[in-house]
């Protein structure tokens, strides 16, 4: 299964990924349209010290957000491996338990009246996720996850200075 890998050393914090994500999830499909519609990106570029770090959903194997979801909306698709709270019979109520559970901080409250948790849906229907396709620095790459990347990911989740 392919997943989005991050090469931190290549990220210069240009935010293109986040804008492309917003555009991909807007009805207009454009960055300007997304801004007008108030659609947020689902990948977040944060500054750690002076260095940028893209934060995004890892579509975990044993996803804590899935366990935390009290409506059954958040599920991991057994076929695609994608974790999402959209596109199912069960729907999100915005109880924020997934936000409480996600160790990466990859889920946000959707802005607006209706309470809804918002996260990376893996861009179903696209060959390459919008953020990866847009990244000008190859900091985001879409590739088969190997044991090494899995290991590094776990380490990131568990190690602290």
């Amino acid at each position: 299964m392919k997943e989005i890998m991050v090469h931190l050393d290549r990220c210069n914090g240009c935010l293109t990924c986040s804008l492309a994500c917003a555009a991909a999830h807007s009805s207009s499909g454009t960055i300007v349209g997304a801004m007008l519609e108030g659609i947020p990106g689902r990948i977040f570029v944060q500054a750690a010290g002076s260095r940028p770090v893209p934060i995004l959903c890892r579509h975990c194997e044993d996803a804590p957000c899935v366990d935390a979801c009290m409506t059954g909306a958040m599920q991991k698709d057994p076929g695609t491996g994608l974790v999402s709270n959209e596109g199912r019979e069960q729907t999100c109520v915005g109880c924020w338990m997934c936000i409480m559970a996600c160790p990466y901080g990859a889920i946000i409250q959707k802005p607006g009246e209706k309470k809804l948790a918002l996260k990376c849906d893996g861009c179903p229907g696209r060959e390459i996720p919008a953020c990866v396709a847009a990244c000008p620095n190859n900091a985001l790459v879409y590739e088969e996850a190997d044991a090494f990347s899995e290991e590094r990911r776990r380490k990131a989740a568990s190690t602290l200075v």
Binding site: A48, G72, E89, M100, R152, T159
Partner: protein, 420 residues
């Protein structure tokens, strides 16, 4: 292999799903005293408020049981577990044999020893039947008294308020959500709800719930009086009792299965009797923060425990590494809040960092012990709650980050940069 699960809810469903994944040919049976498919009791307030209908409470598609080849015995209560014969005895005296049994019977409303709670119109909120009954009473009701400003009481109060009822919440402790929040946090939430029109009476116990007097009954009225410690009387047509819950353990009383308050399990979620497991609200596990062994009656923990029990039942040993017993997310009106771990430290040996901006409905509090975060309250801005929770579970030293976390400027990027 015959797997039997008693309880068709958070823990039971996750266990069935996990068992099916690990053992394609095993026989799986779910027993439930409730008649229908699994639903989320966390959504009952939304149902009460009229925001969701019954179909929208289901946590799995309708064909879940067929698709996962799960046999269902619904609408029948399990009254006894015979561990010697490996059988579950049902209320109609029929028996279900098992090789591996999971007890996921959850908990029910604990009614306190207050006079008058048995009368009509006095209800708990635990299952769909309760919620339906409350809505039935609602037709003729104008006023509601909710006894207990804990999580369920507050949810019920706000839901019925949204239905247009006059709601008064009575709480014995000096602030609402006393198990989850400290006073400053509770006051922000309370103020927000008060502004809407929910009324609170704090620091007051309930002495008695009195039925309608003969006189009022003559006029066809059914209202009740809630009499407080100080003698004050509140009139209401519906009284919701939300002062606590108790684990459903009756079916294993007088067996070898060890009971404390809930069912005692080992690190594999197995009870004192081999091949009998317990998970969810009914099971007692060790809290990773406090080290205390007790029930942890929240949805995410029930699901995780159900998964772990199922792995072990299917012969794939998986250790329960400990969860945080108290983690709650609330948003009644407009102010979200998340509380976790030890939010009100019992003594002075803890470090407390707090940031309080009540005028903006903002509050953040961290409780630390030796630079390890053991508790937090986030009101208003709940982003990054999961990242902080992960630090808590890992017992990570947060010395370098704590000020940043307090200010809401921390995120997972710091951890990634630390290892890259």
């Amino acid at each position: 292999m015959r797997y039997v699960i008693i309880g068709n809810s958070a823990a039971g469903i996750k266990a069935a799903e996990t068992l099916r994944k690990l053992d394609r040919g095993g026989l799986i049976t779910i027993i439930s005293d409730e008649p229908g498919p699994a639903y989320s009791r966390c959504l009952l307030p939304a149902f009460l408020a009229g925001m969701r209908n019954e179909d929208e409470l289901r946590i799995r598609p309708e064909n879940f049981y067929q698709r996962n080849l799960v046999d269902t015995v619904f609408g029948k209560k399990a009254v006894k577990v015979e561990t010697g014969r490996k059988q579950v005895v049902l209320a109609d005296d029929s028996r279900v044999e098992y090789d591996k049994l999971l007890i996921a019977t959850g908990s029910s409303t604990a009614f306190p020893p207050v006079e008058g709670l048995a009368g009509p119109g006095v209800l708990g909120l635990r299952n769909l039947a309760d919620a339906r009954e409350i809505l039935e009473y609602r037709r003729k009701a104008r006023r509601v008294v909710v006894i207990g400003a804990g999580f369920i009481g507050m949810e019920a109060a706000y839901a019925l308020y949204r239905r247009g009822l006059e709601v008064t919440v009575v709480e014995k402790m000096p602030h609402i959500l006393p198990l989850q929040l400290d006073r400053p946090a509770a006051e922000i939430i309370q103020r927000d709800m008060q502004a809407e029109g929910v009324r609170f009476i704090l620091g007051a116990g309930v002495r008695e719930v009195a039925g309608p007097s003969l006189w009022t009954r003559l006029f066809g009225k059914t209202g009740r009086g809630v009499i407080l410690d100080n003698g004050d009387r509140l009139k209401a047509e519906i009284v919701i009792v939300a002062t606590g819950i108790k684990p459903n353990v009756d079916l294993v009383r007088d067996t070898e299965i060890k009971l404390n308050w809930g069912i005692v399990v080992d690190q594999y979620m197995q009870t004192a009797v081999p091949d009998v497991y317990a998970a969810g609200d009914v099971a007692e596990t060790e809290d990773i923060i406090t080290g205390i062994v007790c029930v942890s009656p929240i949805w995410p923990n029930a699901v995780t425990q159900g998964a772990i029990a199922a792995c072990n039942m299917a012969g794939r040993p998986r250790l329960y590494t400990g969860l945080i017993g108290m983690q709650n997310a609330v948003e009644f009106r407009d102010v979200p809040a998340i509380a976790m771990g030890i939010t009100q430290p019992p003594d002075g040996s803890y470090e407390v960092l707090a940031l309080h901006r009540p005028e903006r409905n903002l509050y953040r509090k961290l409780v630390l012990k030796d630079d390890v975060i053991v508790g937090m309250i986030l009101v208003g801005d709940i982003g990054q709650a999961g990242v902080i929770a992960a630090l808590m579970r890992k017992k990570a030293n947060a010395r370098k980050f704590k000020e940043r976390i307090l200010k809401g400027e921390f995120h997972h990027g710091y951890l990634q940069r630390a290892v890259s």
